[in-house]
């Protein structure tokens, strides 16, 4: 691969990795607060993308502004989902049943999207859709940079909340040691609800970012859940930094492989890495002590 092409691939990979990192962070949050594998995360991602597209189509305003609506909406939906549905599951079979329940939610979302918007592929066309920027000599699409910027901002916000705020502290305590957190007077049920809300909010942001650049259709979420799941297992279930690192590594790898192997084969890198992880270190590589063997 030639120099400039290599550089472009790496930069694209980093941009993609950033988006993966944000989405994987959300996925990790659900698992961290409640040991729930939220298969519907990517379905909400696509839902957010559809909402952004619909918003743009109906109002003509830049889809990024739909975030004003979708982020709070998804946050509330996340809290509601945790409080009303997931807390009903029996603790003994929680993980298994949560997989099935969230899978059911994903199916329902896909079905509704297909029903309401039909299966036609949609794409947002913006004034700046075609424009590029020069980054270190490589040609990068503006929309990708914006998407990355959005993801990076959101991740930064998440980091600040987790590390600097009281709420973030309570959230981290709930993730690391729910019983101890309860003894300290933290209302872990409420915190879990908020954790879910934040997770779903990341899906809103990610989906909007996605809508800028991709063609969307109802069953698109299946293309995302596989790689995202692989990322969180490789990173180490329950560890947000682990997921972020794995996301960046795999994003760059996918991008690098895309030129010689094509898009479809390049996606296999996630699954190959997943199986390698299972054979060598089932509890994940980057999570450290936080990662769980599940």
């Amino acid at each position: 691969m030639s120099g400039p092409l290599l550089l472009q691939s790496i930069i694209l990979g980093l941009l993609l990795g950033g988006l993966y990192a944000l989405l994987a962070a959300g996925l990790t949050l659900y698992f961290g607060v409640m040991r729930v594998v939220m298969i519907a995360h990517s379905a909400f991602l696509i839902l957010a993308a559809y909402l952004a597209w619909y918003f743009h189509r109906e109002t003509g305003i830049d889809p990024l502004f739909s975030l004003v609506i979708t982020v709070p909406l998804f946050f509330v939906t996340g809290v509601a989902m945790q409080r009303l549905l997931l807390s009903r599951l029996r603790p003994a079979t929680l993980t298994m049943m949560s997989v099935l329940l969230t899978f059911a939610i994903a199916l329902t979302i896909e079905g509704m999207l297909g029903y309401v918007f039909s299966g036609t592929q949609r794409r947002i066309q913006l004034g700046y859709s075609g424009s590029n920027f020069e980054v270190f000599g490589a040609n990068i699409a503006a929309v990708k940079l914006i998407a990355f910027g959005l993801a990076a901002l959101a991740l930064l916000g998440l980091y600040l909340v987790m590390k600097k705020t009281r709420f973030g502290q309570a959230l981290r305590a709930t993730i690391q040691h729910p019983e101890a957190a309860r003894l300290l007077g933290i209302n872990t049920d409420r915190i879990a609800g908020y954790g879910f809300g934040i997770g779903l909010a990341t899906a809103a942001i990610g989906g909007t970012a996605l809508s800028l650049d991709s063609t969307i259709y109802p069953s698109l979420h299946w293309h995302w859940i596989g790689p995202l799941m692989a990322i969180i297992v490789i990173g180490g279930l329950g560890s947000i930094p682990g997921a972020a690192i794995a996301a960046m590594v795999l994003g760059v790898s996918q991008s690098l492989l895309q030129v010689p192997m094509g898009t479809t084969w390049a996606q296999t890198v996630f699954y190959l890495a997943l199986f390698a992880t299972l054979m060598i270190r089932p509890q994940g590589f980057f999570g450290g002590r936080l990662a769980q063997r599940f």
Partner: protein
């Protein structure tokens, strides 16, 4: 005390005998209905729906070897039915084998492939296992879509018809209906044999508490792997048989998470720990699916119906229909004494009685 409890025991066995008789009658009635179905079906379309439901039943039973015995939920089990379909088709087309031989050899091949897959997947439990199973079917989807020279890619692969072109469609449906039913029966027999065996007892212990089972001497990894391979075998047979009937393979439908979720839903709905649960679930869900697909046609609304149904089952009926009916029936069972908290004193008294009785007998 003795007379009362033995009297109650008599009433209990009387009830059990009535229950057994009732179950036998139901079973005979169901079997008769199933065997007579092709004659009773009003048209070829209904007959084909019957084949589809029988296929779902075969898939669900195949899935339930792993789900029901070990409690490991595989959402990507369509990997094995898909592989079975492609293996059968390719063995006929490229290998020149007789269709039925291809079916058997293909399924055996898939069982062999399931060994390394199982070795990798069964190292993890719970959520990770589900994720890995999904990853498996997604990667097979990717590969089969890209590797067009072998699989025909997204344009699909035509499977040669085993009964020849001159056998009419309704006749084909009827034959494949009976073939699928035969597969279900064989799979159920194997499931039953495992259920009553010591191997099955070990598996069920794994389901209840894997670490505890291991501490009692159950070789958990080996047991899980064996039942995983058996499951892959039967699921592959079901996939291959369906391929022979349907005549056409498309990666999207062969390696579909959706079909994998059908298997889970059907077994869960019918009762994951019971012999006939998956079959009952397949009939209910299969019929509902075909109904929705028929009514709402091309819209994705059947996905909504499926999602809602799965959600309802998970939230309100996680043990399934058959066990729910079972406990309903048990309410009418005459009981000698309810299980009550036995105080330590009573416990001591009882064990003292036993020891004294033993002393006397010595």
């Amino acid at each position: 005390m003795p007379s009362a409890s033995s009297h109650a025991a008599d009433r209990r066995t009387g009830f059990d005998r009535a229950l057994l008789g009732g179950k036998a009658v139901l079973l005979v009635a169901a079997a008769t209905l199933v065997l007579a179905f092709p004659r009773m079906a009003p048209d070829a379309f209904i007959l084909s729906v019957g084949v589809v439901i029988a296929s779902y039943a075969a898939l669900a039973v195949g899935w339930n070897f792993v789900g029901g015995f070990t409690g490991y939920i595989s959402l990507g089990h369509a990997a094995y039915s898909g592989l079975g379909g492609y293996a059968t088709a390719l063995l006929i087309i490229d290998g020149g084998l007789n269709p039925w031989v291809a079916l058997g050899v293909g399924a055996l091949g898939v069982a062999l492939v399931a060994v390394p897959i199982g070795v990798a997947s069964l190292r993890v439990r719970g959520a990770s296992f589900v994720i890995v199973s999904i990853a498996m079917v997604l990667i097979l989807l990717l590969v089969s879509q890209s590797w067009s020279e072998v699989t025909g890619g997204s344009s699909g692969l035509r499977v040669p018809r085993p009964f020849g072109e001159d056998v009419l469609r309704p006749e084909q449906h009827e034959r494949f209906f009976y073939l699928h039913v035969a597969l279900v029966v064989v799979a159920l027999l194997v499931w039953w044999a495992i259920d009553r065996s010591r191997f099955g007892m070990g598996l069920k212990a794994i389901r209840e508490d894997e670490d505890k089972a291991q501490s009692l001497g159950v070789p958990t990894f080996r047991y899980k792997l064996v039942v995983f391979v058996i499951s892959a075998f039967f699921t592959a047979l079901a996939g291959g048989l369906y391929a022979l009937w349907f005549g056409y393979l498309d990666p999207i439908f062969q390696f579909s998470i959706l079909i994998g979720s059908y298997m889970v839903l059907m077994s869960l709905l019918g009762g994951i720990r019971s012999l006939l649960g998956p079959v009952v679930g397949a009939v209910i869900v299969g019929y509902a699916l075909e109904y929705f697909k028929n009514q709402y046609g091309d819209t994705q609304f059947h996905l909504v119906a499926l999602g809602l149904l799965l959600g309802v089952v998970v939230l309100f009926m996680p043990d399934g229909v058959l066990p729910a009916i079972g406990s309903l029936v048990n309410r009418f069972r005459p009981t000698a004494a309810s299980i009550r908290e036995e105080s330590a004193a009573e416990l001591l008294e009882r064990s003292e009685e036993t020891r004294q009785a033993e002393e006397v007998h010595r």
